[in-house]
Symmetry: C2
Subunit: 165 residues, 2 copies
Amino acid sequence: MTDSELAELSLQVGQALLRRKATLTTAESCTGGWIAKVLTDISGSSAWFERGFVTYSNDAKQQMVGVQAQTLADNGAVSEPVVREMAAGALKAARATFAVSVSGIAGPDGGTPQKPVGTVWFGFADDIGRTEAMVKQFSGDRDAVRRQAVSFALNTLRQQFLQNT
Amino acid sequence: MTDSELAELSLQVGQALLRRKATLTTAESCTGGWIAKVLTDISGSSAWFERGFVTYSNDAKQQMVGVQAQTLADNGAVSEPVVREMAAGALKAARATFAVSVSGIAGPDGGTPQKPVGTVWFGFADDIGRTEAMVKQFSGDRDAVRRQAVSFALNTLRQQFLQNT
């Protein structure tokens, strides 16, 4: 997915949010602010995006979006329980309609047999209590893994959470 | 400045931080996470970058990095006092060695005669009490203004705060 395709996807997400007068927030670990960057590429994005959390460390995940220390200790940062807590915590802190969270291993270091490079967990939450978590295994280098993660997060949000608008 | 030039600049900043065992945090308004994105493009960036704040709205600036409501009311979000408070607040919240903040008018809307599109304020703070604020007037479209802001923030940090290492 090219930069201009990411921009088009971001525009579609923004238009869907605008139509339903909804807002989105982000809690990003391995994508490191890239989702927030593509959302704010869109002129007028302040109508539906008002903050994002770049929670790269475990401390940041705990302090910024309320992930529990025990959840991190039990599961590791790249896990379903952690992305669920990240999304729920970001949603609450931002008082947003929707939240998306990402935690993964972008590489080239940090992979393990259980969680190889390219493993990325995604969390989704909304203000009517729907939550979802998904894992993907992406291939390619660090840029490719991160790029696919940004794309997957926005596409899933659009197709599964912003569809009926 | 191209994406690969931004990546090279980010790498230089990261190497300088690593040499002095220092960390950096970001408080971004108009750049919307782009600085955090280019920092985390670098493999191993978790050694010197552990969180970033995308404070797009006034509420986010107050709640995430402690900007005072009165400072916003008196000066507007795109102002020297606000970027100074953003940098100081981010530094403190992240317990980082260095903080950089950005607040500007990326356009195409939002410009005024006093603060035309392309006006961008930058704040810098470090843990030995140095603070700095600068304003730039960039030209070009939204992407160009944001790109120049990312570049200026990282370059200034490198040249003025990370020089003697």
